[in-house]
Symmetry: C2
């Protein structure tokens, strides 16, 4: 794709995209020819623009208006023209200082990250906590609520607390539960949930005929507790900032956006897509094809600690986002959070 455009066309496309990013208005040939010194008259610029439009990189809202980049145009810009600013030492230090992670619960860390991302970018910050399945077992606790109903509390290695109500054999006593907890805590410590699951399944089969009743109970309980059904946690910050963007200024678009942010399902789905990738990823609205998120663009990066718990953070904004500014922020923040996750626990 990159080679279809000659240098002049590239320069003009870049100029148009960047002008449009700051102005949110259709860009005219005159403006381009004046602001950037290509030594080209408006008429020449117009010729190039007509070509770019034919290639689907630009479009004009109506006959007598300037051009705006299409999704494809932005995609091209991101793929080949965007040069991401790298943060210098000062900027990195400033960013580091923006975050206050001292003595925070994991939930608070996630929320704080979202808040800061949103504040710095002036768009909407998203943070998806590490998925339950990607966490590493640290401790489990069972608390009896009523006959046959237990509250299970699970703490991951990084201090992420999750809980769940499970049904259980009503005959289990409190001291049974304590023993079961102790057994599981010693057996499963340090294993990833995936490892835990396969281990549990394996042992359950082996022990099917075994007579250690308590151990069997323990396996059954932990199966119910850890098998599934713990939902993703998504933190959305600064949704109202999006409503200030000119592309979402009509009531209908606002409703759409708020709905999308509220249901969270769409967003989680979108963030999931990037979970396997490394580094910063950019999804462009049209591509993502979620009606409610039309016109939006998503910059994400995964974070993880050394043992693998993977979460995702990022910024969602209008397609017309300031990528060169936001990308490094998202990138560095992901690195920062990864390091914080590791620091949460003793390195041994």
């Amino acid at each position: 794709m990159a080679d279809i455009l000659n240098e002049r066309s590239q320069n003009i496309l870049e100029a148009i995209v960047e002008d449009y990013i700051t102005s949110a208005e259709p860009v005219g040939s005159r403006a381009i020819s004046r602001k950037y010194d290509f030594n080209l008259s408006p008429a020449s610029v117009r010729n190039v623009m007509a070509d770019l439009e034919e290639m689907g990189l630009l479009c004009s809202p109506h006959t007598s208006s300037g051009r705006i980049p299409t999704g494809k145009g932005f995609q091209y810009y991101i793929d080949t023209l965007l040069n991401v600013r790298t943060l210098n030492r000062n900027e990195k230090q400033n960013l580091r200082n923006s975050y206050r992670f001292q003595n925070m619960r994991m939930e608070d860390v996630m929320q704080e990250v979202g808040r800061v991302l949103s504040g710095l970018s002036q768009y909407t910050g998203l943070v998806m906590a590490p998925k339950f399945i990607s966490t590493v077992f640290r401790q489990i606790e069972f608390i009896r609520l009523t006959q046959g109903r237990l509250l299970m509390i699970y703490v991951s290695e990084t201090g992420l607390v999750q809980n769940k109500v499970i049904e259980a054999d009503p005959s289990l006593t409190v001291s049974d539960l304590e023993q079961i907890g102790n057994y599981l805590n010693s057996e499963l410590n340090g294993l990833s949930i995936q490892e835990v699951r396969s281990k549990l399944n394996q042992e359950l089969q082996e022990d099917r005929i075994h007579y250690d009743k308590l151990k069997k109970q323990a396996l059954k309980l932990s199966c119910a507790a850890l098998q599934d059904g713990i939902e993703d946690q998504l933190y959305v910050s600064g949704a109202s900032l999006m409503l200030g963007q000119p592309e979402f200024s009509t009531p209908e678009q606002m409703k759409r956006l708020v709905h999308a942010f509220e249901s969270k399902k769409l967003l989680i789905e979108l963030l999931d897509r990037g979970q396997s990738a490394q580094g910063v990823q950019i999804f462009i609205g049209s591509e993502s094809s979620q009606i409610d998120l039309e016109g939006c663009s998503l910059i994400t990066s995964n974070f993880s600690n050394q043992k693998g718990a993977i979460g995702t953070l990022g910024v969602i904004g209008p397609i017309r986002m300031n990528y060169s500014q936001v990308v490094p922020i998202v990138d560095f923040t992901a690195q920062l959070v990864s390091r914080v996750l590791d620091r949460e626990i003793d390195q041994d």
Copy 2:
């Protein structure tokens, strides 16, 4: 106040309010005289309306438009004219069936309640989980994160899980923590957090010179853990439904609302005001005087279990809410949730 108005004025005010509730448009004298059979001509109705306007119960957006009730008008309507529908057995059963509380975590119960409230009322549902301070102690657990940093997990009697990171003496070993946990769990079980606090303070003073080092550590730890700094949890559901209401149809008002819902602080403040009251409470926008929530009205009721943990739930909508329909829903839901809280634990 009620006695200043004669019956005819009351009838007309009621008619205007109810018409406005369904139409969201200024109500004219002609409409009133036709739809309701007071046997009064529009002219007579106009006379009454002029009186009501003078008393500050009505106002007209401009000279030649119908009247709309003022905040004061709504207040009067709610105080003296509103007759709340009581739910019949069928409706109660339907409402009960709307909620699915089986094997849900407390967090999920709260969220579910918000969702259903919002769905039934078509406005925005609010649920504030019982305040930490109003809960009853059930269990506490300390998990070592790093040298000198502990994760404290607190479970209230109703199964509400909260956690917090606290600093602690780095020399504490894992078995120390276990002992401390056991000690606290046996000592504090069944006490309200307020009782716990006074007990801790008392014992800390008594034991100041004592030589039981571990006990002292236990007291210190639990003080740090339970003293304060656990924030309220507020669940907001169906915010986007509010954006469909005609009074919030302009971009500016939408932004205001979304901002108010997002920051949550305003809402928590507002909900706090009703924490001491019993039964359903109604706050009207102008009265609440929060700029961001102008034009909104709040119907709340507290719920609590037998031991006193108090939370609040309700519905926030335009002042022009269908009170007679929403009030009984909020009322009955609060009763329902109260009962669920009690059922969460063994009755002993």
